[in-house]
């Protein structure tokens, strides 16, 4: 099996997960698709180095996060809140989902990434610190701050969820 074949096998197995993470970060499937393709292209180019990594999925996630943060830096002033464009997930309570998306979208890009990695990808604090290349203490403090911000942003009648 050639290195290209190995890459294709890995990419086919993990592309959907990467795109899901990208979507949770940006809430835009088209952008998520672009970010995932960018990530896979970069991974392809660095494949020989990547396969030396202890955790190849985390390595790919790191590239994805970098791509997302780069994108946010370039377009920070133009991104809209996309939650209203999506089909309701909580059919029984659409307002709740919308508010949650709004709340997440209200966080700065890196803080949103921390929340997604911690609570969507189930990364440990140390893993988040490694992926984002920031100190563990920063992850902890930013997580606390982000959760606090989410509480503030969410409607009063939803605060019971976060008691």
């Amino acid at each position: 099996m050639t290195e290209d074949d190995e890459f294709a096998e890995f990419a086919n197995a993990h592309a959907e997960r990467l795109r899901n993470t990208a979507f949770m970060l940006c809430h835009d499937w088209h952008l998520a698709q672009d970010l995932t393709q960018t990530t896979l292209t970069k991974l392809f180019l660095s494949w020989r180095r990547a396969i030396q990594a202890d955790n190849l999925v985390a390595y790919a996630q790191k590239i994805l996060l970098r791509s997302y943060l780069d994108h946010r830096r370039r377009r920070s002033s133009t991104e809209s809140t996309p939650g209203v464009l999506h089909e309701p997930a909580y059919r029984e309570n659409p307002e709740l989902r919308l508010t949650m998306l709004d709340a997440l979208a209200g966080l700065p890009a890196r803080d949103r990434a921390i929340v997604i990695l911690r609570y969507f990808e189930d990364y440990s604090v140390e893993q988040v610190a490694d992926v984002l290349e920031i100190p563990v203490s920063v992850v902890k403090s930013q997580t606390r701050r982000s959760l606090g911000k989410l509480r503030e942003l969410l409607a009063a009648d939803q605060l019971a969820l976060f008691a």
């Binding site: 979507f23 949770m24 393709q37 089909e87 609570y119 969820l161 976060f162």
Partner: protein, 264 residues
């Protein structure tokens, strides 16, 4: 709160209707290969420019290699000075020494109709240019990457040879007239897979690189190079290489090598 948040995030995703992934992986691979190809061509061009600038005063005619005798691995360690001449001070091991030859080919670049070069045509030509020996492990780079590789064993063990072709700019479809090719020879002491690198630059922008390895694997034992410097120069300076090649070579390559392993 954290468990609720986790549940909300997962439910958030499960309620979505994501568009199909499509050929996301294939598109990424194609983009990656295109970028890699451009990087390789840029490296060849930049290397030639740097070497040409460094050795402008040392344009030599003729080659110091000894025809018919393979240079030992120790020569591929990068010392071009005669053994009696002491090296003046420490030399960074990553800096390859180089010399440039100007060769008048005496022949025009191959005439006739030309087609976009293929890896199979390159391998076909390479097998014609190499000295007699057993050729194994033939391989080509992915897609349109014009790079081929094989092992040549003349009886003293297999040695790896790679040939890559690029262009420093748009190449006209017309074969250029009477040619002088600038050939640069470098020994790479810290990369046995490219123990000796011979770059040939044609006036029309065609760049040809021949890598003569002094090992088959970075982690493996040293091997005898498959070609002498003379032989490597002759391969690199052959006027038939190019991003376009003679149509008969392309056809013969397709016939001789209908399928080939793709290198990683």
């Amino acid at each position: 709160m954290t468990e609720d948040l986790r549940a909300l995030l997962r439910a958030d995703l499960s309620g979505e209707r994501p568009p199909p992934l499509g050929d996301l992986v294939g598109a990424a691979i194609r983009d990656g290969r295109r970028i890699r190809r451009k990087q390789r061509i840029r490296r060849i061009g930049a290397g030639l420019l740097a070497v040409a600038a460094a050795v402008t005063a040392f344009v030599l005619v003729g080659d110091g290699g000894v025809a018919g005798r393979r240079f030992p691995p120790t020569e591929a360690a990068g010392v071009l000075s005669p053994p009696s001449v002491p090296l003046a001070g420490p030399v960074p091991v990553s800096t390859a020494e180089a010399r440039t030859l100007t060769i008048r080919s005496g022949t025009k670049r191959a005439g006739g109709s030309r087609e976009k070069a293929t890896s199979a045509a390159m391998l076909h030509l390479l097998t014609q240019l190499l000295p007699p020996g057993r050729m194994t492990h033939l391989g080509v780079a992915a897609e349109d990457d014009l790079q081929v590789q094989l092992y040549l064993d003349d009886g003293s063990g297999p040695g790896m040879v790679r040939v890559g072709v690029g262009a420093s700019g748009p190449i006209s479809g017309e074969p250029p007239g009477g040619e002088t090719v600038s050939v640069t020879i470098r020994h790479m002491p810290d990369n046995c897979l490219q123990g000796t690198v011979v770059d040939a630059a044609w006036p029309d922008g065609t760049l040809v690189r021949v890598d003569v390895a002094s090992c088959l694997d970075q982690a493996g034992p040293p091997t005898l190079p498959a070609l002498t410097v003379d032989q490597a120069v002759r391969v690199a300076a052959d006027p038939r290489w190019g991003v376009t090649m003679d149509a008969t070579l392309v056809a013969a390559g397709a016939k001789q090598f209908p399928s080939l392993p793709v290198l990683g």
